[in-house]
Symmetry: D2
Subunit: 137 residues, 4 copies
């Protein structure tokens, strides 16, 4: 399809989101049916106990699901909604939100992501999300 | 209960969250079974089309649900997860996340919030969320 | 609108669902933006501990949300999905799934329901759900 | 662990659920971290258009997630809740609900399932779900 998003276009779209810039998000992988978004666990993204704030995780879920869906449906998509489940405190150096398309039709993509905290000595899934991305218009 | 959270304590907890300060969130109402969290729709919280970013909405859902649950269960709570549905683009001057407890047991509170964009000429529900808050320990 | 569903039509639609007949579901209230679906807690709808099975609750959530959305959008709708949170064991004589539309646009309705167990001495919310209903075509 | 569930015990638990017997559900695979539950698309499980009713899918999601979580946490678990997304009409001969544990802690298991309709000429994912299973007591 002519409107398939390239990794370069995906990076431009993310860069055009002021909120994603504020959080320092970057797309580290982008291919058909898959997108990975990463965020450094900066001091100003934490909650009161020193963990990455749940709202940063939910932002990363929302955005990585949308980019994964967009990798198949094109840029003109919206996120209908998603559900996120938190399993562990988000401790580590970098949050990696790894999203993929489970299944899609011509107008909708059912997507999931794992929210993984990466540290120098390994990584752990701390949360996971699922949502549907819809083609607009 | 001696560990019931006062509005003053709730404000202190929010203030101790660096990410909430980064977003300029404030608690504007807090009582038994109910919490309202507000955020100005600043330029740096938008997405590429000029709407408030979905990640800001999901942050506000997460945090307002947690404070509503905490208003009944006390400060020692965690958010198990939540589901958010987006209905409209988030356009307006202020986001008001209005959370309440639907029902609770001794250890869990089932909470909901409406995400409302307030503008000079009125307000609109743009999204809604539901989740469960659990007492720790 | 000419395609607004009457309570009589809603009852006919439910009656045309073999699975709803198998469960003995009936619509007890139906108006613009609201639908109530009830099910007797028959022996064959229970799980191994004698509570109403979670699958009966999730059926009632799914269907009551759809009827509530249809009460505004018309009969030609589909349920995009929903999230359900269980709070208590479902004990009682009758399950009452009380759904309403939180907010709607021309093509989508954001709906919620409370799943209430009714007994001779009162009633209790045992679960709650939220989902989006979409106009087809 | 002494309380690890065997496939035989899982089948007994399912058999002790009257609602699962009513639907003709059976466990066709059960191992550590994974459970598959199947249901024949009988006439009395359909909705008004001849598709398998969404409530049958949500039952299968609920139960397969619970068995997957129980395969790791033991028999004494409850389902906190789940989110289900419907992608396609459920057409086919058999519903296969394939659940697995994404990640678990000592007390909680984050589980997902794909809801697959199997027909003589192939199979299709028609919906997917995600939820958290919690150890009781």
């Amino acid at each position: 399809m002519s409107d398939e998003i390239t990794p370069e276009l995906a990076a431009l779209v993310l860069d055009a989101q002021p909120f994603s810039k504020l959080l320092g998000a970057r797309i580290t992988e982008f291919e058909h049916g898959r997108a990975v978004l990463e965020i450094e666990a900066r001091e100003d993204l934490l909650q009161q106990n020193g963990y990455l704030h749940g709202g940063v995780l939910s932002y990363a879920a929302d955005n990585s699901l949308t980019f994964a869906g967009g990798s198949i449906l094109g840029a003109n998509v919206l996120t209908g909604g998603f559900a996120i489940e938190y399993l562990r405190p988000a401790i580590g150096r970098v949050l990696s939100a790894r999203a993929h398309v489970v299944e899609s039709t011509r107008r909708r993509a059912l997507c999931r992501c794992e929210l993984v905290m990466v540290d120098d000595d390994g990584e752990k899934v701390v949360a996971a999300a699922q949502g549907t991305i819809t083609l607009l218009g």
